[in-house]
Point group: C2
């Protein structure tokens, strides 16, 4: 009852890449509009599970929108604290999973031949569970070696206000379905560097960071990250893992996100809409105020 | 730099309960508005980790908004397929976790003395990873024993259109912060039965279902569930676990959500806004059309 749209792959990286094949599915729906019933074809954001394994050892399964899977796997390993350098990865191998015959797996091969899967599992568990209160979580983050973003990157508030519209106009899949989150990197002149979309907020961020990681661009000390959804704890954690100095969102941050951003010196902006935003942590040039 | 608001606990269950204590934190922020800078106090949606354990065995940690934790734990166990009957639970015991001194844990005690933690862990892993393609996922769901919702519950489109406003007006915490998702149950006359809010979409759904589960109301074959966010695969899965026949959302569903809803006969409505909605699966009385 659904069929996939073979969208043109617009590149596995770079400014233009945001609409890989298998991102959308067309299907028949029935619209009710003020009492009138209207059957038509509608586009759905694709959601499929992706298995990430280290060599032959399964690590995790995440529900994601297909596309940029290798970047997602690389970004996930970095932002969850399992690896620190792109050089630790010797290969990223997409594989076809048995059921369905689709490429819904990425095998990550690491350089270290002494690699211990049990150690990775322990680290991963520690990163996922991350303590039982905010304090313990932040202590755990510190133990992972996350540091304050380096450099003196600053943002012009006028340029900042222009970013949500740039994000929206680059969100090709979102335009069709209204169902995808987006994350994007911008430079200090508000140029869009890379944008990724996914049904999962965390995955969109991991795809963006994974792309930059594989390009050798980390730490991202001269970049700003904008996310379409909320700025939660894990999004702040991922931004810090990539060395991003400024994280902006069009919606609200959580209490723990603000706490972590303040402790580690990340500038956190929320409710970036029109000519207004709220600074929850850090400072911007031109605002003359520091939270 | 933040302080908690000791909101009055408005009840652990029922129509009125949506703003438990510790749901909000006040903090100092700086607002930038068209070039003017304005420091003020702002409310943040609280986010803290909750550990759920079965007896003394840790099961999972979820980032959630504090409040209704026992319902969250009970709902999580049900919707992830770990238990089937409320009678299997002999006690739900909130406990204070060592770091921070806050109640950020729930211990679930089960009736079955022959309980095998390794078996639960295996089941849980199976439920979480849920296959590697949509087909395998849906097969796994079937193996869990999820069935088509029973009964002949139908919805009047006019009543359906009234639900988002009822949801919004009952969302007390959201009104303060803009940062929380909501899930709610309604009966066929569009009466709000229960509403829960959380920083995580899945948690809001688990809190609602957990409340009904502990009330002995399952299967919820005479109820409709409305969620504030998107209707993804896992939300559909949770609705099916509770026997909900109609799931509505104000936003878009995913491809896999639609596929699962169609396979198991759940009515799935999206983009419920104003006097318009889209039926992705099943039928409503009065629409004269079935997807």
């Amino acid at each position: 009852m659904t069929r996939e749209i073979p969208l043109v792959q617009t590149g596995t990286h770079g400014r233009e890449g945001s609409a890989p094949e298998r991102s959308l599915q067309l299907t028949q729906v029935v619209e009710w509009n003020d009492g009138q019933v209207h059957p038509h074809e509608d586009a759905l954001a694709a959601e499929e599970p992706l298995e990430i394994r280290i060599g032959q050892n399964p690590l995790t399964v995440t529900m994601r929108t297909p596309g940029h899977d290798s970047e997602l796997a690389a970004g996930f390993l970095l932002t969850e604290g399992l690896i620190e350098e792109a050089g630790q990865i010797s290969a990223l191998l997409p594989y076809v999973t048995t059921a369905g015959g689709k490429s819904n797996g990425v095998e990550v091969q690491l350089q270290d031949c002494e690699f211990d899967p049990a150690q990775i599992q322990r680290n991963f568990f520690a990163a996922s569970s991350c303590g039982i209160c905010g304090k313990a979580s932040i202590d755990a983050i510190r133990k992972r070696g996350l540091r304050a973003p380096s450099g003196d990157f600053t943002v012009d508030p006028e340029l900042l206000c222009a970013l949500p519209e740039k994000l929206r106009s680059a969100q090709t899949v979102f335009g069709h379905t209204g169902g995808l989150h987006a994350a994007a990197l911008f430079d200090s002149a508000a140029n869009l560097i890379v944008l990724r979309e996914d049904i999962g907020r965390h995955n969109a961020v991991d795809k963006v960071i994974g792309w930059a990681f594989l390009q050798g661009m980390l730490p991202l000390s001269e970049h700003l990250m904008l996310v379409s959804g909320r700025g939660g704890f894990e999004i702040v954690q991922k931004a810090l893992a990539a060395g991003v100095p400024v994280l902006a969102s069009v919606s609200a941050p959580s209490s723990l996100a603000v706490q972590l951003a303040r402790e580690l010196g990340l500038t956190l902006v929320g409710f970036l809409r029109g000519r207004r935003f709220v600074i929850y942590s850090g400072a911007l040039r031109g605002t003359a105020s520091t939270v």
